[in-house]
């Protein structure tokens, strides 16, 4: 017992000495970590956090981008409530999302299943479906015009073979949103297809073999093994597609400019006009916040609903 207190007393003296190199190494490591993280942190603070804070403030101001912003309280938000053009743009966006999101998900999954074969030239085919993903919207607009031009496009040529009158596609107030959604699926499905391909390849083959032994047909295997097996990815695709749709801008900016009339005026395009064409950056900021709230609510709903149908196994 007599030695114990001495040992106890000695321990704290020795401990720092023995920990010093490790402590010092951790400190150096922390410094390096901070150094490497600095670009990201600077990016986060300067290009994300600061603009978001500025946007929150601008939403309560009248700001024409030239003079200093002047505080107007909730004026921008109360104007939004009575702004029919804004609600029309939100409805157009919702309509666009209703067509685009399920269609893209189904097409991407179908493509992934079809291309998940060990055949010759398969990488080439997969690459071909991915080309639109990396093409700019300007290029896509030219290609889409070759298909959907009412006079010269191939879509109306096909209809003509079947004796159907030509359609106006992007020039028709009724057809413009479905046509835009089709084109967006064409551009976006390749990326989602890659996500589904990864998910398909993660499904253990034993499950298919067991099902085959049990007498399950192709549809049964797809319905009861593939669909639940990729449900996590399906959820991801649905969330990503919804957010992409609500933020859609380039496509309508390049292809229709929101027309004919206001038939394809989507919310981000409307926001762009207010800020950059009409010098109403405060009002545009308010629109951005409302859009953010809509995206947040929709994503939370999707997160809540996923528990009912997504299987992570």
């Amino acid at each position: 017992m007599a030695g114990a207190p001495r040992k106890t007393l000695r321990t704290p003296r020795r401990a720092p000495r023995s920990d010093r190199p490790a402590h010092s190494a951790r400190r150096v490591e922390r410094r390096w970590a901070m150094l490497f993280a600095t670009p990201y942190l600077a990016h986060l603070v300067l290009l994300t956090a600061w603009p978001v804070l500025a946007l929150a403030y601008l939403g309560f101001t009248d700001y024409d981008t030239v003079s200093s912003p002047s505080w107007t309280g909730l004026d921008n938000y109360s104007r939004l409530l009575g702004d029919e053009a804004f609600w029309t743009s939100l409805l157009n966006t919702g309509y666009f999302a209703l067509i685009f999101v399920p269609l893209q998900t189904v097409v991407a999954l179908a493509l992934a299943v079809a291309l998940n074969q060990k055949l010759r030239f398969m990488p080439l085919l997969r690459g071909a479906y991915f080309v639109p993903v990396v093409s700019s919207w300007v290029v896509m607009a030219y290609v889409a015009d070759a298909v959907f031009n009412p006079r010269l496009g191939s879509a109306n040529a096909v209809l003509d073979w079947f004796g159907i009158d030509p359609l106006m596609w992007l020039d028709s107030p009724v057809l413009v949103i479905p046509t835009l959604a089709l084109i967006a699926v064409w551009k976006g499905a390749g990326y989602m297809m890659v996500l589904f391909l990864a998910a398909l390849q993660a499904i253990p083959q034993e499950r298919y073999e067991a099902a085959r032994v049990d007498g399950a047909g192709a549809w049964g295997r797809f319905r009861h093994i593939t669909v639940p097996g990729v449900s996590g990815t399906t959820f991801l695709v649905l969330v990503l597609s919804t957010i992409t749709t609500l933020q859609a801008f380039e496509q309508v900016f390049v292809m229709t400019g929101g027309g004919p009339g206001d038939a394809s005026e989507l919310t981000v395009l409307y926001m762009y006009r207010q800020g950059f064409e009409y010098f109403q950056m405060g009002y545009a900021a308010a629109i951005a916040w409302v859009l953010f709230a809509v995206i947040l609510v929709l994503t939370l709903i999707q997160l809540r609903l996923q528990k009912r149908w997504v299987h992570y196994a």
């Binding site: 009248d62 024409d64 981008t65 003079s67 002047s70 107030p173 004919p260 009409y278």
Partner: protein
């Protein structure tokens, strides 16, 4: 210990030096970014930034660059840095540049946007500079002044646009229809359009339409018609006044041409046929209302065409309209650069540059002397009757200019396009358009 005691101060010193260097660099960058440049340079030259919109490599761009070189030669103490882009890109960039205090010192503004920039305090009042000139020697000065509530001159004319009736001589001859005259009324126009409309392939749809009634470029479509039928878009009191019997009559006339007599393509067909500005150059329509700049596109289509005054409405009014594109000077430009910018404007308004500019057929020259020369009156390309545009300009009203022009006219255009597409009735569209356009005007708060 000795090693430590020497190492630490060195590290500290290095850190201190690094921090000091970073601070100095940051301050230098900040100072550079903040500007404060008076425009002077060590070589005694003043550098100005000149912005304009033109198709890259096109005739307007080429002529402008040539004129800039001539200007620099004539003014050896001024250096010009050019910033140009096509129309849409130029204006999108300009708005961002204004927000970032990086806009050019002098730029070419679409006439309808001058008040948008001026109303937000971005432009210099040029009245003082212009007092050195005789305003009577130039076209359009009065129309620019009219746009400002206090009659200030926020831009100096660069080129003028007015409206006329373009007609395809070959199609008129083929149909045996007499060419338009200055006495034509809207009834005469409709009667001729009926004779000119042809279904050549017998598919039940016209292949040649007599007239282009609708165009998204409303200065060449419903705006002059509203004025001709006794309506007005913006009243003298600055209030939107489109919801009137005269306007209803004008839109009913347009609907009749498109849906009843079928002598003009409706808006959807217009777009489907290849956008409104391609119809006349490709001889799909025999007549259109057009501004002076449409001469270029018609000539590109190798159309043999002429121009006549706009037809008269029921009370004899033609509804002539004009837009004066203008040079404007950035209010943020220091005095030295602003003065150099004004020298450029003076130079461009001179007889020689105006003659060169006239040669490309893009705008009516604003120098009155040049409008009386063969360069303008006896051109090598059609139409021969260029004086029609001068007469139209003399009678023309402006395009209801104010600081929210883009916004209020878009509100109007969207509403009336709905009526022209038959998605809404004309009275409803005019009421909605008027209310929304007026709201846009009422919301505006002037700078300062």
């Amino acid at each position: 210990m000795p090693i430590r005691s020497t190492t630490m101060p060195i590290r500290r010193a290095v850190r201190t030096r690094t921090a000091a260097s970073a601070l100095a660099l940051t301050m230098a960058l900040t100072a550079t970014a903040c500007g404060g440049d008076s425009g002077g340079a060590a070589d005694g030259k003043t550098t100005i930034t000149l912005g304009y919109y033109a198709e890259a490599g096109g005739p307007a761009d080429g002529t402008m660059r040539k004129l800039v070189k001539e200007f620099e030669k004539a003014n050896p103490t001024i250096r010009v840095k050019i910033e140009s882009a096509d129309y849409d890109k130029f204006h999108t960039r300009l708005r961002t540049q204004l927000a970032g205090r990086k806009a050019p010192d002098v730029w070419l503004s679409d006439g309808v946007l001058v008040q948008e920039f001026a109303g937000r305090g971005s432009l210099r009042d040029l009245s003082g500079y212009a007092s050195e000139l005789n305003a009577d020697d130039y076209l359009g000065v009065d129309l620019i002044k009219k746009g400002d509530p206090k009659g200030r001159l926020y831009g100096f004319p660069q080129g003028a646009q007015s409206t006329a009736l373009f007609y395809n001589k070959k199609l008129f001859k083929d149909a045996g229809v007499a060419e338009p005259t200055a006495d034509w009324t809207y009834d005469d126009l409709l009667a001729a359009a009926k004779k000119l409309t042809k279904d050549t392939n017998g598919d039940g749809k016209p292949d040649v339409y007599g007239f282009r009634s609708y165009s998204p470029s409303f200065v060449e479509s419903w705006w002059p018609m509203v004025e001709a039928f006794g309506g007005e878009v913006l009243g003298d009191d600055g209030k939107v006044a489109i919801d009137s019997p005269g306007s209803r009559e004008a839109f009913d006339w347009m609907l009749k041409t498109m849906y009843e007599d079928k002598v003009a393509p409706d808006p959807v067909t217009t777009e489907a046929l290849g956008k409104s500005q391609t119809l006349f150059p490709s001889s799909v329509v025999a007549m259109q209302f057009g501004i002076y700049a449409r001469i270029q596109t018609a000539n590109q289509g190798k159309v043999d065409f002429g121009v006549a005054p706009l037809p008269k409405g029921p009370d004899g009014q033609r509804g002539d309209l004009a837009n004066i594109n203008a040079w404007v000077i950035n209010r943020a430009a220091p005095d030295a650069r602003a003065e150099a910018a004004w020298k450029w404007i003076e130079f461009f308004s001179g007889e020689k540059p105006q003659t060169d500019w006239t040669a490309i057929g893009e705008a009516i020259p604003i120098n009155k002397k040049v409008t009386q020369t063969p360069a303008f009156l006896s051109p090598e390309t059609p139409p021969a009757e260029r004086k029609v545009f001068l007469d139209s300009l003399a009678d023309a009203d402006d395009l209801g200019l104010n600081p929210v022009w883009s916004e209020y006219t878009t509100a109007l255009a969207e509403a009336v396009t709905g009526a022209l597409n038959k998605e809404s009735s004309v009275p409803d569209a005019l009421k909605t358009g008027q209310d929304e356009a007026q709201s846009a005007i009422d919301r505006f708060r002037p700078a300062g």
